[in-house]
């Protein structure tokens, strides 16, 4: 070393490590630090789990919230072809399970469902998804109520030829007797017609057991779906006594629907706690019967006084409206004796009673010494219906309902499936729709020679998985309801709202377990490891993780409002 005083200066020398080409940190794959990785994972929402028709509720709410009503409806009818009907008559268990209920108020899902159903009818939308491959097999569906219609519709979507039989001249099943103030007949007709128009060969007035036999169906079709419903009135008498002019509740409702008349009484007593009893009681009041009483040994819906007590199976809201309108309900009572003169009813003896559910069978008890007399000129049983064994006695084997397996197959049968009210459980329209869909899926699996694996009910994402700090409390939408004094005959009680209000309501959805596309993960990642895909066709998801740089801090999962991100150990 030393300064060279003589000669030219030496060129600068670059020592190893003293020089490099500049680069960006992008070549630094910090993803190698990761112990856990985030995954976008869709979980079942509680509403989906609770919906008997298995609707993907957060998906269609999202479409509507983003102002895509047509896509919303198309997503809705992928599960349920008659949303204008179910939006009106379903007791919406989805809303009871809605996580938003624990936050402010459940999303008014049924209002949205009804709105979309009505909008589709108004706009004349037709069902998507009928362009799949055609299958050669033909399937018979018996019963054109909601279960049969749903099964036939889904079978058509899968590409099968479908023949739909019904004993009555019109499709719709027991939905037909729902009074117009709850479900206008025209709404039902238009949705039913749209279902039939997907290429279903509909044979009305064809009754199983009369016009054709089960064996005919087995011979002529690759598979059979039975959805006959419950058409036979359960027998009714009080100590073997009966009024001479006995009318059954359901028969009166049919008479009202088909003929347009109902008898006028001074004071009618309807026996039963189900929807038929309530529908009939309210219809009678509307057609001029002066006083209508409903007698049931069950309790009013709401919190039962004791666990194990039978509660009226009628939809709670409808019971409430019946009371508002002046129907007099006598819960916890039964008719101990009919007071007859000649064969004419002049009154009944009411007695305190209760119904207890012990195991499978209800136990009815009445208490002597509590009798009171209620004058009346009509007693109308509406105590439920049974499966008509005509044509299916071989399958019923002395049981009151068709025994079905989880695969939808009737016990002991391979090619015969069943659903709807003729099977255990059920009783609501959306359940019938769901069982029809399920039956169609299972028939499809059978005919494609695949394994019949019923979907196990998904475990809904818990409330604690949502990050609620990102939501604001907002009042829920409610359908406009005519006050009791303004309920005019049979015009519909509830009216819907304009699109913007329904959009706002849909936007209240937490989107439990589904992506809200809120950009939280994209915005909050300290490492820029979340990339927006921006609707690229090769990436059908809103965001992807760039695992080259994700360090696995877990911030995105913690801050995801809807529980759509899960951290898993690094493989």
């Amino acid at each position: 070393m030393g300064i060279e005083r003589d000669g030219p200066p030496s060129p600068p020398r670059v020592t190893p490590g003293g020089f490099a080409f500049p680069g960006t940190t992008r070549s630094n794959h910090t993803g190698s630090w990761r112990l856990e990785r985030p995954l976008y994972e869709t979980s079942a929402s509680p509403c989906h789990g609770a919906c008997p028709a298995h609707e993907e509720i957060p998906v269609y709410l999202d479409h509507l919230a983003m102002d895509r009503p047509r896509e919303a409806w198309e997503s809705l009818v992928a599960a349920n072809p008659i949303p204008a009907v179910t939006g009106r008559v379903c007791p919406h268990p989805c809303e009871s399970s809605c996580h938003r209920g624990a936050f402010d108020a459940a999303v008014s899902i049924h209002s949205v469902e009804r709105f979309l159903g009505d909008m589709a009818l108004r706009e004349g939308w037709s069902y998507p998804g009928f362009d799949g491959e055609k299958r050669d097999e033909a399937v018979a569906v018996v019963g054109a109520g909601p279960a049969g219609l749903s099964c036939a519709y889904h079978l058509r979507r899968f590409g099968y030829r479908v023949t739909l039989f019904d004993a009555l001249p019109e499709a719709g099943g027991n939905c037909r007797v729902i009074p117009d103030y709850r479900l206008p007949g025209e709404v039902l007709s238009r949705e039913v017609e749209r279902v039939l128009a997907v290429g279903i060969d509909f044979r009305p007035g064809t009754k199983l057991g009369r016009d054709l036999s089960l064996e005919d169906l087995e011979e002529g079709f690759s598979a059979v779906f039975l959805a006959p419903g419950r058409q036979k009135n359960r027998s009714y008498s009080v100590d073997h006594a009966l009024p001479g002019d006995l009318h059954h509740g359901l028969d009166l409702l049919w008479e009202w629907r088909n003929v347009g008349t109902l008898p006028r009484w001074e004071r009618a007593i309807v026996v039963g706690g189900g929807n038929t009893a309530i529908d009939l009681a309210r219809s009678l009041l509307r057609t001029g019967t002066r006083e209508v009483h409903v007698v049931t040994d069950e309790e009013l819906p709401g919190a039962p006084s004791q666990p194990g007590r039978g509660v009226m199976p009628a939809i709670s809201r409808e019971v409430g409206m019946a009371l508002e309108e002046g129907v007099r309900i006598h819960p916890g009572r039964r008719i101990g004796r009919l007071i007859l003169r000649e064969e004419r009813v002049v009154g009944v003896e009411l007695v305190h009673a209760l119904k207890e559910i012990e195991g499978q069978t209800p136990v009815h008890r009445a208490f002597e010494g509590t009798e009171t007399v209620l004058e009346a000129d009509a007693v109308i049983p509406a105590v439920g219906q049974e499966v008509d064994p005509a044509g299916i006695a071989r399958l019923l084997r002395n049981r009151t309902v068709l025994p079905v397996l989880a695969t939808g197959q009737v016990e002991g049968e391979t090619r015969i499936f069943a659903g709807g009210d003729a099977c255990p459980g059920g009783g609501i329209v959306s359940h019938a729709v769901g069982s029809g869909h399920h039956g169609a899926r299972m028939i499809d699996a059978l005919l494609r020679k695949k394994e019949l694996s019923p979907k196990t009910p998904p475990t809904p994402i818990p409330y604690s998985s949502l990050n609620r700090v990102y939501f604001e409390r907002r009042p829920a939408f409610a359908l406009q309801e005519a006050p009791p004094e303004a309920r005019d005959g049979f015009s519909e009680i509830e009216t819907t709202g304009p699109l913007p209000l329904l959009r706002q309501e849909a936007d209240r959805c937490f989107s439990c377990g589904h992506c809200l596309e809120c950009d939280n993960c994209w915005t909050l990642c300290p490492d820029g490891a979340v990339l927006k895909t921006g609707g690229r066709s090769d990436l059908p998801v809103p965001y992807v993780f760039d695992y080259d740089y994700c360090k696995g801090c877990g911030l995105c999962a913690r801050e995801c409002p809807s529980g759509h991100i899960r951290m898993v150990p690094e493989p």
Partner: protein, 334 residues
């Protein structure tokens, strides 16, 4: 919207990354710790500032983790000189740009050490000489880069390696320096505080600071998972609590006057904030000393709420719960 399919391997990641609908001033691959609040804050500040800026950076974590020689995470012109002179370097750049008639905006970045303590003299001079610079302080409340030593910004009662908790002291004895009051005394056109828990608010303030002519100052509370001892997933949750307890007031000042505050809708007890952080673990016990310090910190938070009038009278869209409300479809973050 509902797929969890893993992305196909044929994705051109670089192209996807380059086509993101936001400006990336700090690239991925930087060496910040998992869940680093400062990395998040810097990304957000640069997104709001845009590409036409020059950054002068004081010594600190940010300078270290973005420039592992010979790489750089910066896509904007960036200079690091010393710990104490970020404001002076920025001031020089600003004057040079002005002389050339250029409109490029100048940012100075520093941590709390480079702002409250070591760089304070240069900062004060820059503000006093009215340089058109936005000075951003990423406040993680200690010298984290050198191994968690107390700074003038470390809050009262917090453990650091130089303010240990033991028999005599319950963490830091002194109070967090009221830097805002000092900044206010300079009478500059714009000064504000922000939190990584409220990105929209933070970005609005960056833009406001850059729009105003003359010196502006932004203090961004930036949790440090390593130095504060909290789970890396909780960076945003911890910082939200810093705001909702009142310990870190979020506000804006013009000419030294408070003109806007983020109201707290439901003030949270200070204990919830302390519980998440190891630096405050010694204050959670039942000893009289721990209890007294807890009550002391609660009193400091309450005093902030009172001093700045932070309690919300009615829920609003800009308060501590309204400001982070999500919107479906990504229109949330302005």
């Amino acid at each position: 919207m509902t797929s969890s399919e893993p992305p196909s391997p044929s994705v051109d990641w670089a192209a996807l990354r380059n086509s993101q609908p936001r400006f990336s001033g700090m690239e991925s691959g930087h060496g910040a710790c998992q869940g680093c609040g400062q990395a998040l804050a810097t990304r957000l500040v640069l997104e709001a500032a845009g590409p036409d800026v020059i950054v002068a950076n004081a010594t600190g974590c940010l300078e270290i983790f973005t420039t592992p020689w010979p790489q750089s995470a910066w896509t904007v012109p960036w200079i690091h000189s010393l710990f104490e002179n970020a404001a002076a370097v920025a001031a020089g750049i600003e004057v040079a740009l002005r002389a050339q008639g250029r409109k490029t905006r100048v940012l100075a970045f520093a941590g709390d050490g480079g702002t409250f303590d070591i760089g304070f003299q240069a900062l004060s001079g820059m503000l006093e000489r009215n340089h058109d610079v936005l000075f951003v302080c990423f406040d993680n409340e200690a010298y984290m880069n050198t191994g968690i030593q107390r700074s003038g910004s470390t809050p009262h009662g917090a453990w650091t390696n130089t303010s240990p908790a033991g028999k005599v002291r319950q963490g830091k004895r002194h109070f967090k320096k009221d830097l805002l009051a000092i900044i206010a005394a300079h009478g500059i056109p714009y000064a504000a505080t922000a939190s990584v828990a409220y990105p929209s608010d933070l970005r609005t303030k960056v833009r406001r600071g850059l729009d105003i002519e003359g010196p502006s100052f932004l203090l961004v509370h930036s949790p440090c998972p390593l130095g504060w001892g909290h789970d890396s997933a909780l960076t945003v949750a911890v910082d939200r609590l810093a705001v909702e307890t009142g310990l870190f007031p979020v506000l804006e000042m013009e000419r030294g006057h408070v003109v806007e505050t983020m109201k707290i809708r439901n003030p949270r007890p200070v204990r919830e904030y302390l519980e998440l952080q190891i630096r405050f673990q010694h204050l959670l016990g039942d000893s009289p000393e721990a209890r007294e310090e807890r009550e002391h910190l609660q009193a400091l938070a309450d005093a902030n709420i009172e001093r700045y009038g932070l309690r919300a009278e009615a829920p609003g869209p800009r308060d501590s719960e309204g400001a982070d409300t999500v919107r479906r479809g990504g229109s949330r973050w302005g």
